[in-house]
Amino acid sequence: MFILYLILIVLLAAGLFFIRNRKFRTGLLGLFLVLQTILPVYGFLNLNTPEAGGYFSYDPLGIILLAVLTILSYTTVLHSWSYLQHRGDSDRNQRLYFAALVLLIGAMTSVYLAASLGIMWVLIEITTLSVAALIYHERTHLSLEATWKYVFVCTIGITFAFVGIVFLGKALQEGGSVNLAFSDIPRHLENVNSFWLKLAFIFMLVGFSTKMGLFPMHTITVDAHTVAPPPVSAFISTTLMNAGFVAIFRTYALMAYTPILEWMNNILLWSGALSIFVSAVYILKVNHLKRMFAYSTLEHMGITAIGLASGGIGYFAAILHITLHSFVKASVFYQIDQVHRIFNTYILRKTGSYFNRNLAGALVMLLVLVSITAIPPSGMFISEFLVFMALFQSGNLIAFILIMILLTVVIYALGRSILPMLFLPPPATEINNDVTIKPQESVSQFILLLLAIFLAYNPPPAFVKMINDAILQLPG
């Protein structure tokens, strides 16, 4: 089944690029969405079945994130369509856009389901290449700069991850194994030299955090957000970061029963705390709507890393948090596309009175502000609460207090930037275009935001069971 999926993805991408007939291409996109829907359902029904000779498997974490990806694929394809229509891009660029989008979704799907370290590594590099084509879509000087930086730094990051894999291979060799399958590695790592494991973990963390956008390597994803088309930013900020999360989660799970667990937790905790620190500082400072939300993503990735580092209920909270964050953050970026169409700029200072211009959009923005800062009706309140409960229980009081203060700063900074855009009038000289946006264009964002609330307060039992299954392999 999975091999068939991969073949179809490649065929569909080729079809979207080479076929000139628009109607036919629309049909192909529909076909793609059907395919992308069938896979998680099939995977859910065949949980933990190995596929393609054991290189892939439908494991619970992969299926959860794949389901998120499928839901966001629908909205992203929809918003990409309207984005391209409003920009009036050439036919060739549109074909390239959708072909790259389909490849990206296929690559991310494969990363989630990969069951072998080597395969996952290769697929992560493929996501870099396919997203590069999308980041470069607007073909300006800035997008060239961001694309080059993104691809170059990601490639260096992925090389670091490879060095980490080699060190892990060295450790495995000591344990008497040559197999890089996730299910097989842990049992060979019990009695090996922990120096190799530490080296492996630190290299893999740095490498994969280029994808997840954690502290030392966050700058390139922020730049990429700035120039990418908004629907693509939605992907970079959510599903692509989830791919990085999967990689880090699996690396962590591999070594979770070795003596370096405590050490890994410390590294992850401070990496997360520093991410939140950097994001708090920059959210206070930036004046660019997309960059601001890119830094907000950095903050939430930091929280997720902290959840992972805290252990216990924190594992559960990390996965829940990253799921809810995906829905909320994606709807932000879809909404930003509308903001850009009305004000023709991303600079916050030049915007204002959004409620008068686009009522539905402004409501989305308000709901987003509440959701992203985790103020109670928001679903992320639950997940952040669980993360901090785990952090408190793990006894890191200094980190706990520091992070609480930083989060308060983030809430203040986001409110200070977004509320004036919604309520205060814009600077006098600006805005005389009369673009109107139909309320129904905001429907998808309402659905995603409500879904995030629903999943947190009334999670379906199957969803909870999936998360619990996903963290079964972790201690305690």
């Binding site: 290449l129 961001a146 080059w148 170059f152 090389t159 490879f162 894999i165 000591e174 930036v286 660019h288």
Partner: protein
Amino acid sequence: MINIVLITLLISLFYVAIANRLLTYIKVLAFQGILLFVVAFIQLNEINPLNLVLILMETIIFKSVAVPLVLAWLLKRNKITREAEPFLPSFLSLLIVTAIVVMTILLVNSIEDSRMDRIFFVVALSSLFTGIYIIISRRKIITHVMGYLIIENGVFILSLALGSEMPMLVNIGIMMDIFVSVLVLGIFANRIGDTFEEMSVDHLTSLKD
């Protein structure tokens, strides 16, 4: 034999540190490709012949012929001036690379593991860090690519240290080579040269807060 080849590779790193012209960098990369061919030939004696042929072909054709030729073509096509334009004087570069090598030797010798090939790890990590040093100390974008290729050669050596037991690692390393070439050809050749008159990182500073 293998020690001599690896030490030659280490010496080529010093040569890169003081090299002034971009063509010299390209020649060193080609030379390193040949050295990697020899190392792979001696080291990988236990893997299946078809895989060995693939790896050897990759080192000799790809690393030592195709990539240098493409880089030379890029230099000509984009009319890049031939100096490397380092931020630091050559003497200082030489000192830094020496320091890197000494540090890696100390690091690797501090590991207590009787079964490891220390020389592989010394040379690989030295190349890795020298590559990073080249990237941060040179001004042109194309020297960044060359610095990356040096990193990659280091990583290739590292994977060869385990290559006999885990040929999959070496194959993945080859995948990385191919990806990077796609990257260089796809973005670099067509776009950057046309947009940036002088391909320098000084132009890559518009995105900031």
